[in-house]
């Protein structure tokens, strides 16, 4: 679909800002000249102050396809510089510089380079779900949802990004395992607690058959999950990771 397109600095105009969670906003940008993007890719957002001071940060994209409408979900990093602006200040009609699409590795495509033919496991920690939503949607749209499973680990039900979209995908047949680390929904069968190797082992019963895993989340989450996957029999070369956080003030 979208291959070898040279990313450029473009102007993104804010089309929508909606509440994603208590600390996060969903931001929809109309980017004139955006060439479309593969599921799982990211972009840079650059903000410029009146005196010319600039700050640039990378964000995963929750949408995919040929559209020039790009969906982000940004969680506010306390004492950050860019994310508090995007969460608290950004309004419809505002313009920001965006550069992308970026990244040709943590992506999934139905055909060609980056595609799969067998089972795929998606594992997201917190806002790490963002690129996985795009991948899951791409798989659904390609009629490949039966090959995919998604595991989402969040603090509480209220912290789930794209909850309605995930529920819709689940209704359509995507297998989703949900892990709540601090607070469970009413009637949830297991107590709140961090994702463990045992939970992962119970969720993925066919590790040797998984053609590819995509793991995205904060660094400690990705380090723990990817090492457990290997211990559970996943081939290291099948695991693609995207880490965030710890990247200083964002």
């Amino acid at each position: 679909m979208v291959t070898r397109i040279r990313p450029a600095w473009l102007v993104g105009t804010v089309a929508e800002v909606t509440v994603e969670t208590a600390t996060a906003r969903r931001i929809v940008l109309d980017v004139a000249g955006w060439p479309g993007n593969d599921a799982g890719s990211h972009l840079d957002v650059r903000l410029t102050a009146p005196d010319g001071y600039q700050a640039t940060r990378s964000f995963s994209i929750a949408s995919y396809g040929p559209s020039s409408r790009v969906v982000l979900a940004v969680d506010e990093v306390p004492n950050g510089e860019v994310s508090p602006y995007l969460v608290e200040e950004l309004r419809v009609g505002d313009r920001v510089d965006v550069h992308g699409p970026l990244g040709a590795y943590f992506v999934w495509k139905p055909h060609g380079f980056g595609s799969t033919t067998g089972p795929v496991q998606l594992i997201g920690g917190g806002s790490g779900i963002v690129p996985l939503v795009a991948i899951a949607q791409a798989a659904a749209d390609a009629g490949r949802m039966a090959d995919f499973r998604l595991l989402s680990s969040v603090r509480s039900p209220n912290d789930q990004f794209f909850d309605a979209e995930l529920t819709a995908l689940s209704t359509e047949g995507l297998w989703i395992d949900r892990v709540y680390t601090r607070q469970i929904p009413d009637g949830w069968p297991v107590p709140a607690g961090r994702l463990t190797r045992e939970t992962l082992s119970a969720a993925i019963t066919n590790p040797a058959e998984i053609e590819r895993s995509y793991v995205c989340g904060p660094t400690p989450f990705v380090e723990a999950v990817s090492s457990w996957l290997i211990e559970l029999g996943h081939a290291p070369g099948t695991i693609r990771t995207e880490r965030f956080g710890g990247a200083g003030p964002a």
């Binding site: 040279r6 990313p7 600095w9 102007v11 840079d44 650059r46 903000l47 410029t48 102050a49 009146p50 001071y53 600039q54 700050a55 640039t56 940060r57 990378s58 510089e81 602006y85 200040e89 950004l90 309004r91 505002d94 313009r95 920001v96 510089d97 550069h99 970026l102 990244g103 040709a104 590795y105 943590f106 660094t219 380090e223 990817s226 090492s227 996957l229 290997i230 290291p236 070369g237 695991i239 693609r240 990771t241 880490r243 956080g245 710890g246 990247a247 200083g248 003030p249």
Partner: protein, 197 residues
């Protein structure tokens, strides 16, 4: 070219002149890798250089350290917009590695345990410009940061400083490594923002 973002004032006004354009200062040390962290025992570790004639030069862990370890303090710049200043490292200069290697190859493909690759020009590795680093911040290099040994090429974006280094292959012509095939620049100079192609 860019325009003022309504309502944005920014925080860090005092910009250290050692920060390349588009970079922000960090105090911690973020981890970025494309895949899982490999588990490598130094007893099994070796480092090789293969030249264009097929000749292979090989060092065990102890042989590498015996070449002479030096302390360096450098700034590192990640393409994801963070920079860490004055970072203390310890490692073996690539000048020591290439002291007795004959090659006409102008380029190098660095290979890592785990399969990662990145391409570099030999000119930019020699004369005190790069090291095989075994310690950072006064401690043995953590696996997630590339331990037991990673390449350290501070003049280029940090994806060029291959983690979990296992060898170099000499090349006559420049050829893209892993990230270079996946959208990132062949060269990666932070001062001219050679981030993406």
């Amino acid at each position: 070219m860019s325009f003022i973002t309504r309502g944005f004032t920014g925080k860090g006004r005092e910009r250290d002149p050692r920060l390349p354009p588009g970079q922000s200062l960090v105090e911690d040390w973020p981890v970025l890798s494309a895949g899982p962290t490999p588990d490598i025992d130094i007893a099994d570790w070796s480092f090789t250089v293969r030249t264009e004639t097929g000749q292979v030069h090989k060092w065990t862990w102890d042989e590498l350290l015996a070449l002479g370890v030096e302390d360096v303090t450098v700034d590192i710049h990640c393409v994801t917009h963070w920079t860490k200043l004055d970072m203390p490292w310890r490692g073996v200069s690539l000048d020591k590695i290439f002291e007795n290697i004959e090659t006409s190859g102008d380029f190098v493909m660095a290979h890592s345990y785990g399969g990662y690759t990145t391409n570099l020009a030999l000119d930019e590795l020699l004369d005190g410009q790069s090291w095989i680093a075994t310690e950072a911040d006064g401690e043995p290099l953590e696996p997630e940061h590339g331990g037991p040994a990673r390449l350290l090429v501070p003049a280029l974006y940090f994806w060029k400083s291959a983690k979990w280094l296992r060898g170099l292959v000499m090349m006559g012509d420049d050829s893209p490594g892993f990230w270079e095939q996946n959208g990132y620049h062949m060269h990666g100079d932070p001062w001219t923002e050679e981030r993406y192609w």
